[in-house]
Each structure stands twice: as C-alpha cells, then as structure tokens.
Assembly symmetry: C2
Homo-oligomer: 593 residues x 2
C-alpha cells in the first residue's frame, strides 16, 4: 500500500490550463516547448515513482548512521538514488545554460521538486540545499569561485549545504559566533554549526558548505557576518579533489521524522582550522544568504505540497481498500470506507487543499520566472513584488496545511494510521519539520505582515487582492459559479480589511505591534489566495468541459473548487474576526511556568 | 526540562469555584468534604509528579519488549509505578465503597486521571482499561463474578482489558468472529483480537480480559455478539490463581507513540481454547460493552487534556528559558522567546484551550455524578441526557485539540521541537492516538449528530444551548464582560441554527445524510461549549477579584477567557457557514486512486 504516483496530470493542469504556459512566453525559454515540458514531467515522474519512492520507507526505518570516524552512511539505496538523479541531469533543471543547467522555467523545476519530495522528502532535501548553494554562488561568488565550484554543483557530483544556525543563534542569526581568521587568500574557520541538513554523507564525492561566520575584528550583530565557502575536500587548481578540510560531523540528530536525511552538528576547525573562502562582500553574509533563503522557502512550501499529495494518495488507497460498515450512499453492506460521508469529507478536504496549494505555489513560480527573465524592468519589479508577498505565504501555509493533511491521512486509516507499519504516520512525522526550518512559520508571518506589507504601504498586496477580486467578478458573471464568486469576494474583502488593520498597527505602533497580528493575517491570506486559485481552476475546468472534455478530472476539479470556496474558505475568513478583536490579551498574558 | 507539575490549582478552581463542589451536595458523597478532596488532589499530584512523570521519557525510549515466550516486559520502572498507584488505593477512587472503592465523585476521579495521564499517558492507559472492566462487571456481571473478580480489579492487583477489535471488525463491530463454544458452565474462546491495550504485561499478577465473541449458533450481526470474561490465569474457588489460560500475546504493535503501553494482538485458543465466562445476557455483548465505552470515552477526552497540559508546561518552560532576539515589549536585547508576541500567541492559545477543555470535561463529570446519584429520577435522567451529549464532544474535541496543542508545543521549540531529545515531539506522538481509539472522532461525531441529537428531536441540546445563553446573558449584564457576552451569544445562536439544519437533514433524509454534517457540527459545539465554560470561568474569577483576591491566577483566567471568546470561538463559528453551505460536494466527489 505504500506507493506513490507522481501527480503529472494535476501538475499539467496548472501549468498548461491554469497558467497557460505563461513562462514559456519569456524569450529566455524560447527553446522550451510544451511538448518538451510534458516529456520532462513524465521522465521526472519515472524517477520519482520507480527510484525514489520505494526508498521512502527504507530511509525512515534505517535512518542514517554516523560512523566512529565521523563519516555518515545513508540508508541503503539512497546514494544510488541520488546519483541516478544527478546523472539524469535533474539537478540543473532550473539552472541557466551558462551555468551548465537545462534552463527550464521555475514552474517546471518546482513541479519536478514536488514529485521528488512526494516520493522521498528526506532524500529531496539533499538537492534542495544544493540548489541554495548554487543560487548563492551564482549571485555572489567571484568568477573564479563560479568556475571552480558551480559546474560540479550544477551537475550534482558535489552537493551543497547552508550553515547558518548555531546553538545560540537560531531565528536570531545576529548571534552567530563562528570565527573566520584571515590567512593569505583564504580564511581559517572555527566554530560549531547545528541542524545542518545533509551536512555530511556518502552520496556525493564532495560537499560545499556555505557558512556564516565573522572575522575577528568584525562588529557585533548582523553587519559583522560574512559568508564563506568551505569545501569538505579542498579543490585543486585542476579541479581534482585535494586534502580533507578540517570540518567534521560531530553528531547527528535523532529526529521525529525525515530519518533518511542526516541532520548534522558540524565542527569547523577542531584542528588547524577549516580553510574557507569569502563569498561576496565582507559583512554582507546575511544578505547573501537571504538570496538563497527566499528560493529555499518556496522549495519548502513545495515540499509540503509533495508530502500532502503523498498523504492523499496513501489515504485514498486505504479508503478504497478497507471494508467496514454499510454504505450510506448505496445501502450496500460491507462497503469500502470511501463510501462513508465523514471519510469522504476527510478525503476531499485533503485533496482539495492539496490542489489549491499546488496551484498557488506554481503561480508563484511563474511570477519567479517573470521576476528573473521578464522583458522590462517594470515587469520584473512587479513580478518580484508579488513573489515577495507570496513566498512567506507559500512556505508557511503549505507546510501548516501539509501537517494537517498528513494528520487527516492518519485519521482516515483509523488504528492502522497509528502503527508505523501502515505508513501514514511517517508522513506526519516527516511533514512536521517543514513549518520549522528555513525560518519558522512565525518568522514567515512577521516577514509578510511586517516587512513585506509595511514597506510599500500595502501597494503590492492591494494589487494582489485586486486580482483576487477580478477572479471573483469573473466567477460571479458565470452562470455556474455565482455562489463561488460571492464566496471569493467576501474572502477578498476580509483580506483587504485585515490588511488595513495590520497597516494601521504598523504605522501607529511600529513593527513590533504587527507581530501580534502576523500569523492570523498570514493564515487569512493563505485561505483567500488558495480560494482564488481554485476559482481560477474552476473557470478553466469549465472551459474544458464546455469544449467537450469528458475526462472526469475536470468535474472533480469543480468539486475541489466547491469544497475550497464553500467549506474551507469560511474557516480562514474567521481570522478577520480574530484580527478585529485586537490583541490586548497577548500583552495581558503572563507567561509563567 | 522534561518535567511535569500536576495542575492542582487549575483543577481546584474548576471544582471549587466554577462547579462550587456541586457533586459533594449529593447524599452519596456526604462523607467527602472539600478538605478531603483537596488532600486527595495533593496526594495524587505527588504520585503523578514524583513517580509517574519521570518515567514518561523512559517509556517512550525503551518501549515494551515481547519476549520469545509471548510475555511482555514493560519499560524499567513501569511495573513499580503501577504498583505504587495500586497500593495507594488510587484504582478505586471513583468506585463505590460496596465494591471496595473510595466512593469519591467522578469529578475527583477525573481530576486524578488528568494528572496521571499528563504525567505518563502510556502508563495511564493500564488503569483506564481496568476501570472499564470494573464498570462492565459491576453492571452486568453475576454476583459470583463480582465476588470473584471485582475486589482484585478494584484494588488494582489485577488489571482489565477490552477485547473488541478484530482485523476485519474495527468501527463495525458487527463483524466480530471470535468464537465461544459452550462447555459445561463455561465457554471455550478462540480467535484473534487486535489493538489490545495492556493486553499482556508484567505489572500485575493477573489480567481479566473482557472479550466480544459469538456462540457457534449465534445470528450474524450485532445480536449474535456476547461478552465473555477470560482471565489470563484462571481463578480458583478460594481466589488463588490457577492454571494459565489459553490466551497469548502473538505480537505487539510498533506505534507512533505511547511506546510504554503494550498494544497487543491476543490469540485466544491456540491450543485447547481459552476458558471464558459469559457476562450478562447472551447476545447483548455490544450493549454491555458500550456501558464501559461511554465511560472510557470521557476518560480519553481527559487523557487528551492531560497531554495538552503537559505540552503547555513543556512549551512554557522552554519559552521562558530560550533566549533569542530583541523583546518587542521592553526593547531589551536578548530576551527570552516568551516575550515575542507571536510566541505568546501560541502559548496563550495552548493555555486557554487547555483551561477550557478541562472545565468542560469536569462539568461533564459533575453531570455524571448527578446521573448516577441524583436524588430523583428526573434529576438523574436530565443529567444523563446532558452527559450523553457531552461525552462525544469531550472525547473528540479534547483529543483533536490535544493534537493541535502538542503540535503548537513543537512549534514553540523551533528546531529543538523536532529532535526527540527536546521532549516536545513525544507529546505529539502520544497525543495522536487519542482521536482514533475508543471510537474514532468521526464515530463520535455521528453519535452526536445522529443518535444523540435525533432521538429527542434536539431537546437535550436545546436545554444545553439555553444554558449557554444564560451564561451569555450574565456576561452581557456584567460591566466588564459585555463583549464576551455578545461573542458567546453569537456562538450560541450559530449552534442553535446549525442544530436546526442537522435535525432537518435527519428528518428529511435520514441518519445517513447527517453523516455529512456530523464533524462540522461537533466542531462547532466544541468551540461554543468551551467558550461557555470560559465565560463561566471569567465570572467566577471576577468574583474572586472583587472579593479582594490578589492571586494573579484570577487575572490570568480572565486573559484565557478573553482569548477563548474573542480569538478562538470565531474559528469554530465558521463551521456554521460550512454547514449552511450544504454538503453536495461530498456526494459529487469521486474517490479514486
């Protein structure tokens, strides 16, 4: 029962019908045709289904082993599955040709990521972190650094890591203490980093660590932090691997889930000091890291969607197999539980939410394509402003929902959901990390309600809400969808009203006061934006139906849309009342043990 | 950091101030004084804090071991901790003196249960199941059976189990196949039962299994099922233990949580057939079992509250210790995260919800006391009608909330929440079973919206909603609480309106149609009833403040009440819109893999 079938049909619906292959219209992607993209998705699905998915359970059960010399042995088959991925050229899918990649749009890269994370989230983390390293080096590395490190990273022969957190420096990275002492053309790095995903492993021949550290004379706080590149094996001028650098895995975490992903404590400079190289400008380490953080946050949202999709499939398969009770629909004795209305409620809730989250994440990916490659400054800036708003929503909302969806998946299984043998429990355990890493969901909410909303007085958000309203108007004008349009318009009004409250709080009382409203505001935005996407999906599905499509896929999208707009959106809309109630209680509250 | 302090102060507030020791006014409890109850709570807290709580982590890490002979070794210290409980007389706390118990009210027994489950949920399950067996025997056993088995069960020397589920018979117990073949004055039982909590263990000298099975000539379906008593060791006429019965533990489950609790597959009659004795009437096994199921469902709700309380304490302690970032309240650098408003939002949400769930569960316990011991038939019947409504709400809503609260507890911990060392993850893993066992939460919702609501046309629910309105009126009339009263009244109106929809559906389309509305209706009821309790709590806390109480405990109850009524209730009220939207989408939905 523990299988996974990559949702190519659903992905294609969003890319082709909902987004109308918008990204392919950008000149930079002129070589990419719809046929090519279809072929890419089908090939990625094969890798996901046949190679990665069967190892999901193995990774969970075997976990990773730290050997006495500090090396890590990943679960059986993981190294080979990673290599199959690298050899297939998947690592460079969204990377430009100039850097050795396939130069496909972000919408395609994100689709592939969703499939791979759905197949095997623990393994998917390895390339996810590498992508961050590629991004940071491509933007901030010197030409020599790019020449030396990027080709191997892009082809996946080497992997990358992000070394930010230290035990005293988590959400507050200004407290980073790792030291970088200048020595000729390089630095000696010493200190300890924690929670380093795939920080050490046996799946690739080298690991390129990107490390936040400070020079001995650097000022306190953010401005003293620089970014350094620290290879596991030093790289000779001819590109061959040289000496082992002074960085070791001191321990690995025993985690709730993603057991197949080694989460390492890395010790830099236990001996002579690890050799590292400054990347970008001195004192701009945090800024440089945030280049990759933003991308990574979108990817974590996509990861949540991948796991949510797998949880759907797992629960659907069980519900279609498990016989229990009399059907309330046909009256037949001994029906499968998929006939019970309360089980159907859970299944539809899982399916419809996952559909809507996917559409939102890919819509953001399309904006990312325009932000990078749009034909005018104005087009790029507008798209970037929208990406900036959407990313914290996609990161938090998709991952919070993924946890709920995985938990519902357990519930559908009944007792079998609670025993590990059933497979549903792993999905909750795996999903639970996603609201925490790459900036907790609370941090995302602050980013949205604080920085992103306040800096332009809500202009970008207003434009987004206007687009939601436009969709609501189109729904209202459609003979079939008037009630969906009313529902969406009401949600949109709530979001606009809540934005006004949050903006007023920010202007009157400053960014600190906004903190209290941040999570309810993001939650409201998530619901409204997902409902927006499903309104769009309904309109596009109806076009297909009107054109004679007989595929039940389309009528089922209408069902998903109906659920999201009428059954799920109201729950999100309640956050307006929460915001209107004010947040005095949070100040009156005394936290005491 | 992994500690627990039983919430005696909070429990006493509900028992003494909110419920005004209502149960003690029943003649049957004339020997129980407030002072005695205070002493009992303090003693139970010691057992919970000093003996049970330190083993919570041990049970999780060590789990239980099944030995090659089928015996079970529980985690180090568990057997002793159980024996300390039994020797302290705690097992009989809510049992009448006639049966060898302490004859204390259910409100007190439930309070003690909450503390013990908060301390160690996995261990708490052992006496919880025994209580069910006591209840079933006390109601349905013959005098000879009571004489032979009850004293040892009540004193806790022996434990009890409930053997219902078989692999093909879960929510649908009509499919039970275990066979009971008559043989003289007893039966030979053969078959396999799954998910038997504490089905085999080393913590007590005997185990009394209560087993659903059918005679060879019994009709199909529910009416063919009878209840049998099957001791692990046969009991001689003089009360001494005789031969080992033919029941063995075939395997134990590898579960997501409650690792300290052995969940067994029990094989009856692998050899000659296990000797069993009919309990109560032939063919009435399911009815007899439901006597204990109802009690057990309340206990599972209380268990959820216990774990939620522990998750609160765990998160509060971490938030008061973890330093990160600048305080948005004082501006001070390097504050504890308990100063961040978004963290405070999570903590208050955890605390306020737990407070309200506790008050509701104990209010139900007070009704249980009246239902059992009220002075008139009318008083008993009225109380029972209310208990019947409240139990499915308390079971489902407390356990769903416990899962959310435990998950928020992880979130408060950030990265440390995801590593097992932090202790927060165990609480989510443990809590996650509670929405599944003793009837899934979906089954509870059907029980409420179907049987309980429809059978009296909503009379009992109307009386309950009237009481909620009365509280809303008192709040509205109070100069401090007008806005809380408005909020509660609005919630109450929603519940009344939703009830009308559900009743109409049931009358027009039958019980099957009600299924679609059941979970949203229960969810709405849970929110409104919790809000009702916190409205009551606010009124009582204000009385104490008006009387000059300076304990900040009271002002903090007002903060909890404010949160529940203004920030949490609106989310529940959204379920009215969900219900009003109708459930057509659930029928239109095609479940396909």
């Amino acid at each position: 029962m523990n299988y996974y079938a990559a949702p190519v049909r659903d992905l294609r619906f969003v890319l082709e019908e909902q987004l109308e292959h918008r990204s392919l219209k950008l000149p930079v992607f002129e070589d990419a045709s719809p046929d090519l993209i279809e072929a890419v998705l089908e090939e990625a699905a094969k890798l996901a289904n046949d190679v990665w998915a069967p190892l999901n359970d193995v990774g969970d059960k075997k976990g990773t082993t730290r050997n006495s010399d500090g090396s890590i042995t990943t679960a059986t088959g993981f190294a080979e599955a990673y290599q199959a991925y690298a050899e297939g050229g998947w690592n460079g899918i969204g990377v430009s040709e100039a850097l050795g990649g396939q130069n496909l749009p972000e919408v395609v890269a994100s689709s592939v990521q969703e499939m791979l994370h759905g197949a095997n989230m623990a393994l998917g983390l390895c390339p996810m972190l590498t992508a961050g390293a590629i991004e940071a080096l491509a933007h901030h590395g010197s030409e020599a650094q790019k020449d030396r490190y990027l080709p191997k990273l892009v082809e996946g022969t080497w992997t990358g890591t992000m070394n930010l957190t230290e035990s005293q420096a988590g959400s507050d990275l200004s407290k980073v203490r790792t030291k970088a002492t200048p020595e000729g053309d390089h630095y000696r790095i010493s200190g300890q980093k924690v929670y380093i995903t795939w920080g050490e492993h046996d799946a690739a021949e080298n690991i390129i660590h990107l490390v936040l550290a400070r020079k001995p004379d650097a000022p306190e706080g953010n401005r003293g932090i620089s970014l350094f590149l620290v290879p596991k094996f030093l790289v000779n001028d001819d590109g061959s691997l040289g000496e082992r650098n002074d960085v070791t895995c001191a321990s690995i975490e025993h985690k709730l889930g993603i057991h197949g992903s080694p989460t390492c404590t890395l010790s830099f400079g236990e001996n002579a000091g690890a050799i590292g190289y400054l990347v970008g400008e001195e004192g701009r380490g945090l800024n440089h890291m945030f280049t990759m953080m933003n991308e990574a946050r979108h990817k974590v949202g996509v990861q949540g969607i991948g796991v949510a999709e797998r949880a759907c499939q797992h629960a659907f398969a069980y519900a279609l197999d498990r016989i229990q009770g009399r059907s309330p629909r046909s009256g037949k004795a001994d029906c499968t539980i998929s006939d019970h209305l309360d089980v159907r409620r859970m299944l539809l809730s899982m399916r419809a939410r996952t559909d809507s989250l996917r559409a939102l994440a890919l819509t953001c990916a399309a904006e990312m394509d325009t932000a990078r490659h749009g034909e005018s400054d104005e087009a790029r800036d507008q798209a970037q402003a929208r990406v900036d708003l959407l990313i914290p929503v996609i990161k938090s909302f998709s991952t919070d929902q993924a946890v709920e969806i995985a938990s519902l998946g357990i519930q559908v299984h009944g007792g079998m959901g609670y025993v590990e043998e059933g497979g549903a429990a792993q999905l909750l355990r795996d999903a639970r990390i996603a609201p925490i890493y790459e900036g907790t969901n609370g941090i995302q909410a602050l980013d949205l309600a604080g920085r992103k909303l306040q800096r332009d007085g809500g202009d970008a958000m207003t434009a987004l809400i206007d687009d939601v309203n436009a969709t609501a108007d189109r729904l209202k004008a459609h003979p079939r969808f008037a009630s969906l349009g009313e529902a969406l318009a009401a949600g949109s009004d709530d979001l606009r009203a809540a934005m006004a409250v949050v903006l007023a709080q920010g202007q009157e009382l400053g960014q600190d006061a906004v903190q209290a409203y941040a999570t309810p505001f993001l939650n409201l935005a998530g619901h409204v934006l997902c409902a927006w996407q499903m309104g769009e999906a309904a309109l596009k599905a109806q076009v297909a139906i009107d054109n004679g499509a007989s595929d039940p896929f389309y009528t089922q999208k209408l069902v998903s849309a109906d659920y999201v707009l009428k059954q799920w959106l109201p729950v999100g809309r309640a956050q307006r009342a929460v915001i209107d109630a004010g947040m005095q209680c949070l100040s009156d509250f005394t936290v005491s043990s």
